[in-house]
Structure formats: structure tokens, C-alpha cells
């Protein structure tokens, strides 16, 4: 049986932020993603998604536990060994595209191949051209630099770039997070198609919509990973308690301040009677709502 594309064993990550403050971003996360999978990892901000993404992308190292990529333990590798590994095994897609601004679309796709030194310039150019065709990039814009491309076009270039060195898997961090609806749909379609061609793709997002297209959904919350959606954290929040009562009082005080301000402005003739009446009415309406 072949090894999984990504395997995490008991991975924990603790950030030390100054003295005595530790943030446990990942708590004993174990995870196995098979080749050819299309997985989305969903969770709210601060749930540890980004940390997991960085560790899966060998951009960061776990505090404890092991990470195996394509059967190779990468936990003990040095920074330059990791750069070689990253170049050949991992493709990144970012929310803000992160193309190199000085290079054309074509050159952006060529660069990972040239960095790997496995391709000649000619081979890299041809392969980049095919990859860009594959993701549906407009061919008359090959020489455009990223600032002369739309967001959707830029993300297509980024996808082609991620595919350049035939990675073990593609890590996509909110790939549609910065795109309009139609571009988002286009990008999702491409990713799905690429998965159909056998590429392993891992999407990290907090957009529930995106999870609908993937084969498997993993949920993250508070540094843990779950196969099933955890109970919503909203369920545990009571609708009214002491703190809400306090907030109501503060809101009423705020409105009182506003009222005094409007009255002062009216008396000093900074605003007309009509404006004053209107403002007063709006404040009173709000007061009524809070008191309800």
C-alpha cells in the first residue's frame, strides 16, 4: 500500500509570545490525507487552521509530533533541506495570490521549475504554457505582470504555479477569499477538475460553501481537528445574563451622551431645528429598542 500524501501524528504547536504567555495553536492533531483526496479544513479564525497549513506546507515546524509527506518524515529537516522538499512536493495557493510582481504570468509559473533545476528554460516555458492553458488562463496575457491581471486571472496563474513541480499535494489557503462570486466559481471548478486528474488538494477556509465541493471535510476548533462538525460554540452562549444587562446600561448611557451633544449643537445654532428634531427622534427610537 502506498504511503499517504500527508500524515500528521500527534502534532502540537505552541507559540511563546513573550514571557509567560503561551498560545497552544495545535493540540495533538493527528491526520491522514490519502493521495488523490480533495479535502477542506474549515474552522473559525484562531482555530489553528493557518498553523496546520504552515506545518503541512513545511513553512513551520511542530513543537512536538511528526509530519510525514509522501512517506518522508520532514520533522527533523533543516531550513535548506525543507526548501528543497517544498519545491518538489508542495504547491501553494494563497488568498492574496502572492505572485511575484516583477515577473510576467508565464515567468511566475516557470520560476519553481527553474528553481528546481530539473527543467531547462525551454522545457519550463513549454510546461508553464500548458499549465496556464489547463487552468484556462487567457493566452494573450502571458506577458502581463500581476498588476495588469484581474484577481481571478492572478489566482489561475497561482494554481498553475502550484502545479509546476508535480507536488504531492496542493495547499490552498482561502483560495476564493479575495475573489468575486463568478471568479470564485471558476477557481473552484478548476480545482475540482484538477482533483479529477489525480491531484491531491487541501483547502483551508472558513467559507462553508467551499466545503460542498470537496470529498472530505475536516473541522478545526481550538487547536483540535474533528471529522464531524463540532457542536456550534454558539449553542453554549446564553441569550441573556448579567453581562448583557450591563451592556444595555452602557448603550443607554451612550445614547444619553448623543442626546446631550445634539441639544448643545441646537442651542449654539450649529444645526437647524429640523435636523435637531430628526436626530432626537432617531435617538429616542434606539432607546426604546434597547429598553424592550
Amino acid at each position: 500500500m502506498s504511503s499517504p500524501a500527508l500524515e500528521c501524528r500527534d502534532v502540537s504547536k505552541t507559540y511563546v509570545m513573550g514571557r509567560d504567555i503561551e498560545v497552544k495553536a495545535l493540540k495533538n492533531v493527528s491526520l491522514r490525507i490519502e493521495k488523490g483526496d480533495f479535502v477542506s479544513i474549515i474552522g473559525p479564525s484562531g482555530s489553528g487552521k493557518s498553523t496546520l497549513l504552515h506545518i503541512a506546507g513545511t513553512l513551520d515546524k511542530p513543537t512536538s509530533g511528526k509530519v510525514l509527506i509522501d512517506g518522508v518524515d520532514v520533522t527533523g529537516l533543516s531550513e535548506s533541506q525543507l526548501s528543497v522538499f517544498r519545491k518538489n512536493k508542495i504547491g501553494f495557493i494563497f488568498q492574496f495570490f502572492n505572485l511575484l510582481t516583477n515577473l510576467s504570468a508565464l515567468e511566475n509559473v516557470m520560476l519553481p521549475m527553474l528553481l528546481s533545476k530539473r527543467y531547462t528554460a525551454k522545457e519550463a516555458r513549454l510546461k508553464a504554457l500548458y499549465l496556464l492553458r489547463l487552468v484556462g488562463f487567457q493566452e494573450d496575457r502571458l506577458k502581463n505582470t500581476p498588476n495588469r491581471l484581474s484577481g481571478g486571472q492572478q489566482q489561475k496563474v497561482a494554481i498553475a504555479r502550484a502545479l509546476a513541480n508535480n507536488p504531492a499535494y496542493i495547499l490552498a489557503d482561502e483560495p476564493t477569499g479575495n475573489l468575486d462570486v463568478s471568479s470564485s466559481a471558476e477557481i473552484v471548478t478548476i480545482l475540482r477538475l484538477l482533483n479529477g486528474f489525480g491531484n491531491t488538494i487541501i483547502i483551508v477556509t472558513h467559507n462553508v460553501e467551499l466545503t460542498k465541493v470537496t470529498n472530505r471535510v475536516l473541522f478545526m476548533n481550538d487547536g483540535h481537528i474533528y471529522e464531524e462538525a463540532p457542536r456550534s460554540f454558539l449553542d453554549s452562549v446564553p441569550m441573556e445574563d448579567e453581562s448583557t444587562m450591563l451592556k444595555k446600561k452602557i448603550q443607554l448611557d451612550l445614547l444619553k451622551l448623543e442626546k446631550e451633544n445634539v441639544e448643545r449643537l441646537f442651542k449654539s445654532r450649529a444645526i437647524s431645528g429640523e435636523t435637531y428634531e430628526k436626530a432626537l427622534k432617531s435617538i429616542e427610537e434606539k432607546e426604546a429598542r434597547v429598553k424592550q
Binding site: 506546507g57 502572492n98 515577473l103 528553481l115 504555479r161
Partner: protein
């Protein structure tokens, strides 16, 4: 190799994207290089000029003086001329006086030797040993408003009433005496006999110039004089040149120090430019690393930026410096001072190459530290950077 080429292209485009900053940094470097190159050209001109001057005047001659600089008896001339290998020993009297109320040096030699000291440009040489005639450099004569065949009054501390001498010829500016005495002062050349009268040095010589038959006997003549007359000081062309060289070397050291300061300033400018570049590109460094660029490749990109700045600055500086050197040597030095300084303008690959090399080295060194820092940036932090 292709990879490096592409990374260099990336660096080049990065620089091209910030034209003003790149331009100013290159200008900064080029000013340092230009000062180095132009001063070097002037110094080279001085060297060549001094060498040719000493060579034409002295050639295979030997200068003999007393060690305490007192005048010696003319009899020494006869003794020296008897040394084997000596073709001729020429007595020379040197003294100071006033010519038409300006200070001047008086140089007296047997009239047949005057041409060897002062090349005559116009007029003729002194007609006979006792004729009241003299020769002046064209420059001094022009300053005093003296023309050929006019008469000047020469006063010394011995001849208070002065002597009227007819100016029969103009000589070239410069010459051995200008180099040996004091540079810009006027020189009046007279016959040995006139000199004896004017300077009250009858039967004396301040120095003796010895011509040898050929240069192969030079050292044996020098050794013979040194052995026989220990209280005489002997100097040859080589000695004079060595003295001049050591002065020129000091000038070179000063030039180098001045240029070194400006190059250091340029280096700091480059460092600043590269540091700014890295700061702006920190997110891209993260991206580069995430697509697999090694720390070495990142280092290379910013070193390449530094090197490109260095090469551009070096080339511009070499061109500017050569131009500046030309203007200095050809237009400024001959006209700026009361006296003329005529140096040859020599374009040599040496100062240009040195300037270029120094610019490239300085920019390499100053971009090394920020580039090393850039290569160590951790990709996670770089990607998070806005």
C-alpha cells in the same frame, strides 16, 4: 546557471521598478568612483611628467653637491673631469636676486651648457661669456612685460647697483631648476662669468653636473666619486626619480584616502538601498521561499541587486571620472594657477579598472549583510507581513 540568470533578471527588474532610488544610489557610487578615477588620472599625469622631465634634463648625468650644501671650489670640476668615464663636468652657480623688482633665481652655467638646462624657444643663446646677456622663461618674461632684446635690471645682495642684462632669448617654462628650486619662481639664466660677478661666487660652484660617456659606466663613476670625495653628495637620475616618486606616493595615499571615504559613503548608500528593497519585498521573499527558493537563492537575488548597482555606479563613475580628469588636466590645471601646470592626459585601463573593481567590491560587501538577513527570514513570518 539558467536559474541564476533568471534570478538576476528578477533583481534587475526590481531595480528597474524603482528608478529614482536606483538612480540615486548609482549616482552615489559613481561620485566616489569618479573622484578616484579623476584624481588617479591627475596623479598618473604627474608621474609621467616628472619622469620625462627628469629624464630629458638629467639623462645619463650625475649631480654633485657638497653634503653641507656650501659652494665648492671650481677646482673640483677639474678633479672630477679626470675620473675615468666622465665626459664632461659642468659647474653651476645658483643664487637668488631681483629682476625688475620681482624675485628670481639666477642660474649660471658655461654658455655652451645653457641649452641643456633651459630649452630656447625664441631668440638666441648668450653670445659670449662676458656679454651682459641673459635668457628668461617665456612665462616669467611675459609676466614682467619683457620682450626679446629688451634690457632688464638684475639686483643681488652683492651687486646693489645692479647689472643691466639684455634678454636675448626665451626659454621653455619648467626645466630642472623649476623642479629643483621652487617651482613657479622666475629663472634668469646667465653665463658662468656673469653669475660669478652677480652672486659673488668667483671660483666657486654650487653644484657640478657630470656627463658620462655612456650609461654603463654610470655606476662605476658614481662609486668612484663617492669613494674619492666622501664629503660630496652624488645623485643620479634614479635618485632624483626616487625622491619624486616618494612625494608622488604620498600624494597618491592622500588621493586614495579621500576616495576611500567617498566609496564608504557610497557603500552605506547601497546598504540603505538594499535594506529598503528587502523591507519592501519581505512578503515576496516569503513567497519565493514557499515555492522552494533556498536561502542561498534568496541571498543571491539581493547580492545581485547590490552588484548591479555597483557595476552601473562603477561604469558611470569611470566615465565621469575620465571626463573630469580630462577637464582637470587639459583645462583647469594649465589655467587656474599663476603658473602653468602642463600634464599629459593619459587614459589608462588601470584607474578605470580599479574604480570599477572598488565599486563592485564595496557594493558587494555592503549588500552582503542585508542580503544575509533576507535569506534567513522565515517564510511564515514573511508571508504574514503586510
Amino acid at each position: 546557471m539558467i536559474t541564476l540568470l533568471y534570478l538576476a533578471r528578477y533583481a534587475l527588474r526590481d531595480l528597474a521598478g524603482k528608478k529614482i532610488r536606483t538612480g540615486l544610489t548609482v549616482l552615489g557610487i559613481s561620485i566616489g568612483v569618479a573622484s578616484l578615477v579623476s584624481l588617479f588620472i591627475v596623479s598618473l599625469g604627474m608621474r609621467v611628467r616628472v619622469e620625462s622631465e627628469v629624464n630629458t634634463l638629467l639623462g645619463s648625468s650625475i649631480i654633485v653637491r657638497t653634503k653641507n650644501s656650501e659652494p665648492m671650489s671650481i677646482y673640483v670640476v677639474h678633479l672630477l673631469s679626470r675620473i675615468p668615464g666622465v665626459e664632461r663636468a659642468v659647474p653651476v652657480i645658483i643664487g637668488s636676486g631681483r629682476v625688475e623688482s620681482s624675485n628670481a633665481f639666477i642660474l649660471a652655467t658655461p654658455i655652451e651648457e645653457i641649452q641643456a638646462f633651459q630649452k630656447i624657444l625664441s631668440g638666441s643663446s648668450i653670445s659670449s661669456p662676458n656679454a651682459p646677456e641673459c635668457i628668461m622663461p617665456e612665462e616669467s618674461a611675459r609676466r614682467m612685460g619683457v620682450s626679446v632684446n629688451s634690457t632688464v635690471r638684475v639686483i643681488t645682495s652683492y651687486v646693489q647697483e645692479g647689472a643691466s642684462l639684455k634678454v636675448v632669448g626665451f626659454s621653455e617654462v619648467g626645466g630642472l631648476f623649476q623642479a629643483a628650486l621652487a617651482g613657479p619662481a622666475s629663472v634668469v639664466a646667465v653665463s658662468l662669468e656673469q653669475g660669478e660677478k652677480l652672486l659673488n661666487k668667483r671660483g666657486l660652484a654650487d653644484m657640478i653636473l657630470i656627463r658620462v660617456y655612456n650609461s654603463s659606466v654610470m655606476s662605476s663613476v658614481v662609486n668612484a666619486i663617492r669613494a674619492t670625495y666622501p664629503n660630496l653628495s652624488v645623485s643620479t637620475e634614479e635618485d632624483v626619480l626616487n625622491q619624486a616618486q616618494s612625494i608622488l606616493n604620498t600624494i597618491d595615499a592622500v588621493i586614495f584616502t579621500i576616495s576611500a571615504i567617498s566609496i564608504v559613503v557610497a557603500g552605506v548608500g547601497t546598504m540603505n538601498s538594499i535594506t529598503m528593497s528587502i523591507r519592501e519585498k519581505i512578503r515576496e521573499i516569503g513567497v519565493l521561499k514557499s515555492i522552494g527558493a533556498s536561502p542561498l537563492q534568496v541571498l543571491y537575488i539581493f547580492l545581485a541587486e547590490g552588484l548591479i548597482l555597483g557595476v552601473l555606479g562603477g561604469l558611470l563613475g569611470a566615465a565621469l571620472g575620465t571626463g573630469l580628469g580630462y577637464v582637470t588636466v587639459v583645462h583647469v590645471l594649465p589655467n587656474m594657477f599663476r603658473f602653468q601646470i602642463n600634464l599629459p592626459f593619459i587614459v589608462s585601463y588601470e584607474p578605470v579598472l580599479n574604480g570599477l573593481l572598488i565599486a563592485v567590491t564595496a557594493s558587494f560587501l555592503s549588500s552582503l549583510l542585508p542580503s544575509l538577513n533576507a535569506s534567513k527570514i522565515r517564510p511564515v513570518e514573511a508571508l504574514r507581513y503586510e
